[in-house]
Symmetry: C3
Subunit: 301 residues, 3 copies
Amino acid sequence: MKITGTFLDEITHDIPSNNWDVEEWAADFDAMRAVGIDTVILIRAGYRDRVTFNSETLSRELVMRPAYIDLVDLFLTQAERTGMTFYFGIYDSGRFWHQGQPEKEVELNLRFTEEVARKYGDRKAFGGWYMTHEIHEHDEGVTRLIERLARHVKGLKDVPVLMSPYVRGRKQFDDNPITPEEHEAQWDEILSILGGFVDTIAFQDGQVEFAELPVFMEINTRLARKHGLQPWSNVESFERGMPLNFLPIDWRNLRNKIEVAEAGGVEKLITFEFSHFMSPNSMWPSARTLYKRYQEYIDRG
Amino acid sequence: MKITGTFLDEITHDIPSNNWDVEEWAADFDAMRAVGIDTVILIRAGYRDRVTFNSETLSRELVMRPAYIDLVDLFLTQAERTGMTFYFGIYDSGRFWHQGQPEKEVELNLRFTEEVARKYGDRKAFGGWYMTHEIHEHDEGVTRLIERLARHVKGLKDVPVLMSPYVRGRKQFDDNPITPEEHEAQWDEILSILGGFVDTIAFQDGQVEFAELPVFMEINTRLARKHGLQPWSNVESFERGMPLNFLPIDWRNLRNKIEVAEAGGVEKLITFEFSHFMSPNSMWPSARTLYKRYQEYIDRG
Amino acid sequence: MKITGTFLDEITHDIPSNNWDVEEWAADFDAMRAVGIDTVILIRAGYRDRVTFNSETLSRELVMRPAYIDLVDLFLTQAERTGMTFYFGIYDSGRFWHQGQPEKEVELNLRFTEEVARKYGDRKAFGGWYMTHEIHEHDEGVTRLIERLARHVKGLKDVPVLMSPYVRGRKQFDDNPITPEEHEAQWDEILSILGGFVDTIAFQDGQVEFAELPVFMEINTRLARKHGLQPWSNVESFERGMPLNFLPIDWRNLRNKIEVAEAGGVEKLITFEFSHFMSPNSMWPSARTLYKRYQEYIDRG
């Protein structure tokens, strides 16, 4: 099974910039295409005061920094040139929904996604919405936020809606990891609410120990199907649990997770993310060797 | 407005070494020159037991490690070859002035700068002194340390004296950031003392949030002029607020800060620092793309 | 004095992967050979659930992840091709010996090393055992663990046994660094137990301040000889005490430590480790310049 989708992370919390412009992005879409990637997912269109294009909606409500180039247009153009599907990740304020004001987060995104639909909705590559707000357990306010926004964006343009939650796993939260049973109960509840509006769910695979991954994968896949969602897996291509956060993953670890996901019966593999962690163009030389290892692997079949 | 000065950071607290020798430094001075850099500033001639040349003064007083090559001579030679002005950063013990013994720090530097003046004072490129001790608020002992050393070095060789303080900003000190009003009061006091001895002040621009930068820039520029100093800005070319400290900055962030500084009326832009963070020769590949982005930007005019 | 040995760190706690396969490893053994390396030391054959080859012993007792390629065979083959001696580092559970069950750690390794001796014991390059469990002071259970395993492996194949402990030095443990006197007392005790079974001891040199290194080096060398061990030094080629853990060391620091070790009378220099930190093939570009500096240094003689 191949990784056929990747996030695009140009408005980031924590990943340093490759400092690319059109020419470097074009080369990277070619490199993606060469290993079978057909889907690109903008992780977020904006975060706090940063944004991928100069949005009238956001600038009216908030003090935003300038977007010197329109990255949404750039990514759509490259997706069209290379025949890929583009998912649009919505805006994350980085504050309202963490500070008990999910209403404000919803309001902003209702108007923002309307602007996006007007501006980019007719673009050929625009093939999905991505629910940017990452969750790991049920919180009434935040689950309802995702429900309302997913319903709204499907009304604006009826294409699949994707989310990619995390697991409160031992590798990242080792003082208080979630058990498989708790995880299942939380997500049964969440997906009973979101099932009608979110189409696809790709859990992140990096927070749990390798030995626990099959158990969580089985739960995630089963729950997705129970509630009518397509199960994908987000095969993270960066290494977790190292003093250096975050560097390209060891190829053995990536392969292990690909094979666990395949055995778990997911329908598509995506990764966070190609351009920093497994690209021949990455700022990290070990991403270039990872690309080579991955290419040999898929060539062997 | 272009960045026309850079620090040289070969005795460092926190930046890993490029491991360059004469040949690589020569190439880097050429790369600097190609984008208009005319000023290089040695951030410190020594720190604790490390030193840029084998100083008799320091070795008499302290246990110093050997300097296998004379970096001051190397940098002066390159500055002379490429027609740049060199600022000499003094010695930082890393302890006396933090431990209530600013007198001891002054004494060491009085003798050390005399040795420096004897040894390198006649070099053609030697065009300034840099006050290495970084401060952010008024402390009687430390402000007087800078006053005495600035006065002394001007007596040794009458060339401009530069300092580059930081702001106790929200991005780095988010449990207790300074307000613009407090910052203004502190620096009005400090510059009323240093005004006659320090010629130029280049505040670091990376500790405050982007939205706050214009306010701090306005205060800094106004206070500098009020007390007779030239306002420059230290447009930091590394990213702050990331899990990885420190990597090349996102080009959008660098551009934003350049334009805020220009709008704020500073007279020159310098950066910490070219060779790691925006050089085509850097150990960080994303510095190489940053150089390309910056070059395109200045070529557009 | 040249560095003539290096660790191989492909089952790691904390160093990101270069993502190499046979072809890149072959190139790196060539690069080692070109600067005089004649000894390679596998730091550990396995750690927790990761392993360098699919071991029947470990898989019977523990849930292990698959080893997609046999790294022990790969390293032995490269060592044979380039005429080097290979030391085999044993298994570290990462838990039993930290959790008061050194017996369990011993049991696993008794069976595991027997499997290793059967499988690889006749290989031409197999020239030493490496005691993987790193210690810094005497703990009855752990010292006895090393004693029993060292005795056992020598019975399986009578080749030298090496260990590479650390010093609880100020650079890493600055709230509670060990004094030279305490260090000497601890190691006099430890080596009085291990002296008959461990042949060679290479203390890590990166945890103590540069100024203290000669004192610790003298103690280490003297104690080794007193108890009949060969003193080597592990000249670490990564930088300690930086925000980024771990990057290639500043060449000046490496040179300093090489010369201190030589003056201290050690018999061989090894490093942790060549392939990430001083190789022309490393994922870190500054390792490539470090290789160049080191090569110039040894060429000067």
